[in-house]
Symmetry: D2
Subunit: 144 residues, 4 copies
């Protein structure tokens, strides 16, 4: 059984655990900073999945989310083999965009990194913003 998403989203927050591998680290011995953005996106994706949203379905229609703005603060660094938790919540929801607040904690409950991430829904064929599909908008509303 595949169970990588021990989430608790009854309160409108989602938690997702990620393991740090060699691929995530750099020669400084810590997680390379750009990779936190990957971790945040994995967590958003898993939340969508739990809300029964199939992103591939929308990608086939050339619709998807793109990151429009990131504000990330890095307080401390994750290291190899650490098990870290990404906590996510939605702080703003509009017709064509959504803002997530996310942070990453280690096993000692220290906040390593926090971010505000604004996503816009776009049509990849037209390279233009478009309305968030109703089924996704509805799911976001239920948890925000």
């Amino acid at each position: 059984m595949f169970n990588p998403t021990p989430s608790t989203n009854t309160t409108g927050t989602h938690r997702f655990t990620i393991r740090v591998y060699y691929e995530d680290t750099d020669a400084g011995g810590i997680v390379y900073h750009a990779n936190y953005l990957k971790f945040f996106e994995r967590a958003r994706t898993e939340w969508l999945r739990e809300l029964d949203i199939n992103q591939t379905h929308f990608l086939q229609q050339n619709i998807g989310f793109v990151v429009r703005k990131v504000e990330m603060d890095n307080f401390a660094s994750a290291i190899l083999d650490e098990s870290i938790v990404v906590t996510s919540s939605i702080v703003s929801l509009k017709r064509a965009s959504v803002v997530f607040k996310q942070h990453i904690t280690n096993q000692q409950q220290t906040i390593l990194c926090s971010a505000i991430v604004r996503l816009a829904c776009v049509n990849f064929t037209l390279h233009k913003p478009c309305a968030i599909p109703q089924i996704i908008l509805g799911a976001f509303k239920r948890v925000s």
Copy 2:
């Protein structure tokens, strides 16, 4: 509870499930080929973890494994959102090196990718091969 390693290693094989995220794909709409090497390494790492091997402990002593040889065949491509399984087994074990045979299957049990990966144990300070630490060698012997 964090449970990303649904393994069955009683028969000397290890299975590890991985989800494909946007970060893993490329503009061809499929997983970028180099990323399969990351998936194979995640699986080896999780197997080590289940065998109670703490890689960070050895890294702190500047000892770790480096990939010396890869033979990878790609038969078909994983796509966004797919849940794929990496199956691993050890096919050769020497004093300072180990060879894994690994393959990746999708949910339809199609083999997407297979690989033979030879790893050498090295001292990162001396930039030289070294014997595999006894505790790791013993663990490998139990499953090979």
Copy 3:
């Protein structure tokens, strides 16, 4: 012939050209958002190199820069094969930290992405902030 480093830093700004490869893109057909942070870092690194700063030398003393804060705005997306230019300048310089303002333009001079990146100098052994080495601080002062 493609010449990736046409820099002009007489005015305190640095320009660095980067080519977009398959590895940089995702299934949306555009550059994966986290990779812009890699591009910004490559540009900072090349600027340091032009200022005759050898980062490896400092890494061997376990001293390096870590990203402490990123504010990134993505206006449009780079695509496969595009040649993009990262423009960088220093907007703040303190004893142990430095703030860069950077943006990425395409060949049509459209700004695709801009960022404010704050870096702290740290001792990787002690996991603590430390003063920026004098030779680096001096170089930063000359261009800021």
Copy 4:
């Protein structure tokens, strides 16, 4: 000034220089092994570009190359800030596939890594092999 593309392809070999950045390294202090596959692909891409092949043009028709087989030997590791050279040649050319022989050397002319990479031309829409477009096939023939 660092000039990443000193190519010499009069003899059917292509040379491409790459700089190692933090993003390429891992906690072992060396280039993460999967990234050599990225370097090899960058070199193949630049060779295509010098042969006046526009990959994006073909991607828009959903045609591109996928890696079908990799045999990679890693003899030594590249480290942060190193300037390495990828040397490429074509060793086999068929109607729908091409095989490259590539290796990476450092500034001391030590071979760090060598690879045989077989690529198939595929139609990404049909997920099927297809003939290499004539203009690309012709270009490959001229240099192989």
